[in-house]
């Protein structure tokens, strides 16, 4: 009967793989992200660069609905910097005492404004395709960080015989290979204050750090707490095992 547990756990793993296999047969590039593993942490410098790349490249088409400017404190920005970022955006507010809507500069409590008024406007500007919101993108795709990195670095010329329709682009990491998003990063698209590399894979990697944080701002706290909880529980396992053996000592003597 002891084998039963192994079977049930194997069943879980199989089921998990079955889910992961749903994404098509593209091969992803695996990177050793700093947030991987139980001791993983977020790289603040990379996140700040990723935020800059997001603002200058992605934000013209992609929204970031669940992130407020105040959340940027996680990236290591201070209050004055955050207020300055927010003030660069115009936000519609109101109605005021006269019943009119008005536009004001953004404040730290505002969410990132969407580049389009609504989905229809977004589709009209993008040849019918809808640029998805990016605030959960690394959780909404199987192997999200690797998938995003692969997608951003796998634009290629279509192979012989692959027909690419008007308004579509060939991407080796996209399921079905044809994607409506034109290649967003060509290298040297941004210039970083810390003089970091700006080739395609470096910018893609910075974006993955920023968007992984955006998808789950608590990821670092979760893993840190997890290590403490595991230490507590393993001590509890040891002590309860000892107590059990002590209590049962007079019964199990055969």
């Amino acid at each position: 009967m002891n084998r039963g547990l192994g079977f049930i756990l194997g069943f879980m793993l199989l089921a998990g793989n079955a889910f992961a296999a749903g994404g098509g047969d593209v091969v992803l590039k695996h990177k050793d992200w700093s947030f991987n593993g139980p001791f993983g942490t977020l790289d603040k410098a990379a996140m700040q660069r990723g935020f800059q790349a997001y603002s200058e490249i992605c934000a013209s088409c992609h929204s970031l609905d669940y992130i407020a400017f105040r959340n940027l404190a996680d990236l290591g920005y201070n209050e004055a910097e955050i207020k300055a970022f927010a003030a660069e955006y115009d936000v519609e507010d109101g109605p005021n005492d006269e019943g009119e809507m008005f536009t004001r500069a953004g404040i730290a409590a505002d969410k990132f404004p969407s580049p389009y008024a609504n989905e229809q406007a977004a589709r009209a500007s993008n040849g019918g395709a809808y640029p998805p919101d990016l605030s959960l993108i690394t959780k909404a795709r199987a192997n999200g960080p690797d998938y995003l990195y692969s997608l951003l670095t796998s634009y290629k010329d279509a192979p012989e015989g692959q027909d690419v329709p008007e308004g579509m682009y060939y991407n080796a990491a996209y399921p079905g290979y044809l994607i409506a998003m034109p290649q967003p990063i060509y290298g040297d698209d941004v210039s970083y204050a810390d003089n970091s590399a700006t080739d395609v894979s470096a910018i893609a990697s910075d974006l993955v750090y920023f968007l992984t944080w955006a998808a789950e701002p608590s990821i670092e706290q979760r893993k840190r707490k997890g290590v403490n909880v595991m230490i507590f529980l393993l001590i509890m396992v040891g002590m309860s095992y000892g107590a059990m053996k002590f209590i049962w000592a007079d019964i199990k003597k055969a």
């Binding site: 547990l5 199989l14 079955a18 749903g22 139980p38 979760r222 396992v237 309860s240 049962w248």
Partner: protein
């Protein structure tokens, strides 16, 4: 039960009028329990604790959740981002469902192997199957609440199944939906029912425990306890053993929550529900996959629905399908083999349920589904007639003390079996 056993006068005063302390002393402290229970008997208490964890985290989540199609997804993200430790509460609840099912599945397979469904524990078993059914309904409705893509499309597929019922099917579906498609009224009623059903489960669990305490636990040998020498008081012997099991369980549970919180989920459920866009593969949560495989194995829609519900229904009548008087699989050489074949069959069904319904997977699903029913309807009734069981030990103490007396008991038991 005399109240004199309590030294505290306040306790004595209360217990004389409301014998709650006597009750607890009787059922939790001195409650005689077979002394030979193995670790598979830990999963009952683990299931109870899982239920409490789910209710506690669920109530806290409900304080910040908004059951409306326009706000449900956003309110879950608000819990994940802005509610203090909301991410922790939500990950506990989300993974708790999976761990609850893992624990309950092991608990059920333990019952199947050791014959815990046999007389006089038939009602105990039936109440357990009822709990499983309620759990499945609760989990299904809970998965709809975040209103992601899999929530919406899972709800659409599963509720549509009821339309296969002749004559009244379409009316039932309209009633479930509260309209003519899965929409806001569906989400509202699923939330109301998802909050209600765990408390129904608590009620059935109490009945399950009352039935359990009538005859006490079954045990790995499967023979009745013959006297006090075969039992130990529940406290401290099994309280400490359950506590040790709990710390192992919590360690695995915590590892999932803190290090792989989304492993057992589906990435599509982090995309807001979109009625205009169907996901490439609609898959239910992993714990429904064996039943999903049975559903899809039958080419006819009504047939598939009947087979899926039949897979649970057959468990209700199991005590009358397996007529062998020997409870424990340890003493049934043929049953033991078929039990493990059945376990493999269930695992295979789980795997096939997650695969696309095409090619070889369809054929394998049909074979595995046929075997599932064959096991209960043909093999178990047949085994109880043709199988020659191994000799049973005379008493639990003898088996605990090393089974020296087993040979002597052999002939007596064979007579009893025939």
């Amino acid at each position: 039960m005399s109240a004199d056993k309590f030294s505290n006068p306040v306790v004595r005063w209360i217990d004389h009028r409301l014998p709650i302390f006597s009750f607890m002393d009787h059922e939790l402290n001195e409650y005689p329990t077979p002394k030979n229970l193995n670790y598979f008997w830990n999963f009952g208490s683990l299931a109870g604790i899982s239920l409490v964890i789910m209710i506690a985290t669920g109530i806290v989540l409900a304080m910040s959740y908004t059951p409306h199609v326009d706000y449900a997804f956003e309110s879950v993200e608000r819990i994940m981002r802005d509610v203090n430790h909301g991410w922790l509460i939500r990950y506990i609840h989300m993974n708790g469902a999976s761990f609850f099912f893992i624990v309950v599945f092991i608990h059920i397979f333990r019952g199947l192997y050791y014959g815990s469904y046999k007389a006089p524990r038939e009602l105990l078993w039936i109440l357990g199957v009822l709990i499983l059914l309620l759990m499945m309904a609760t989990a299904f409705m809970g998965y709809v609440l975040p209103w992601g893509q899999m929530s919406f499309w899972g709800a659409t597929v599963i509720t549509n199944l009821f339309s296969a019922i002749p004559f009244i099917g379409d009316s039932i579906v309209t009633l479930l939906w509260g309209g003519f498609s899965v929409d806001n009224p569906t989400l509202n009623r699923f939330f109301a029912l998802h909050y209600l059903m765990p408390f129904l489960i608590v009620g059935v669990v109490i009945l399950h425990l009352v039935a359990l305490h009538r005859f006490g636990s079954n045990n790995p040998i499967g023979i009745d306890v013959s006297g006090p020498q075969d039992t130990v008081p529940f406290h401290p012997y099994y309280t400490i053993k359950d506590f040790f099991g709990l710390s192992i369980f919590l360690s695995l549970f915590a590892a999932a929550i803190f290090f792989f919180p989304n492993f057992m989920g589906h990435p599509d459920n982090y995309i807001p529900a979109n009625p205009m866009q169907t996901p490439a593969h609609i898959v239910p949560e992993w714990y429904f996959l064996p039943f999903y495989a049975i559903l899809r194995a039958v080419p006819d829609k009504l047939g598939g629905v009947l087979a899926m519900f039949g897979a649970i229904a057959v468990l209700f009548v199991l005590p009358w399908l397996d007529r062998s008087p020997i409870r424990s699989g340890n003493f049934r050489p043929l049953f033991k083999i078929f039990f493990w074949v059945f376990v493999v069959d269930c695992v295979a069904l789980g795997y096939l349920g997650g695969m696309p319904a095409e090619g070889i997977y369809v054929v394998l699903s049909r074979v595995a589904t046929a075997w599932y029913f064959l096991h209960f309807l043909v093999i178990l009734p047949l085994l109880s007639v043709i199988e020659t069981p191994k000799p049973l030990p005379q008493s639990l103490s003898k088996s605990v003390l090393g089974g020296a007396a087993m040979a002597g008991a052999a002939s007596a038991v064979k007579e009893k079996v025939r």
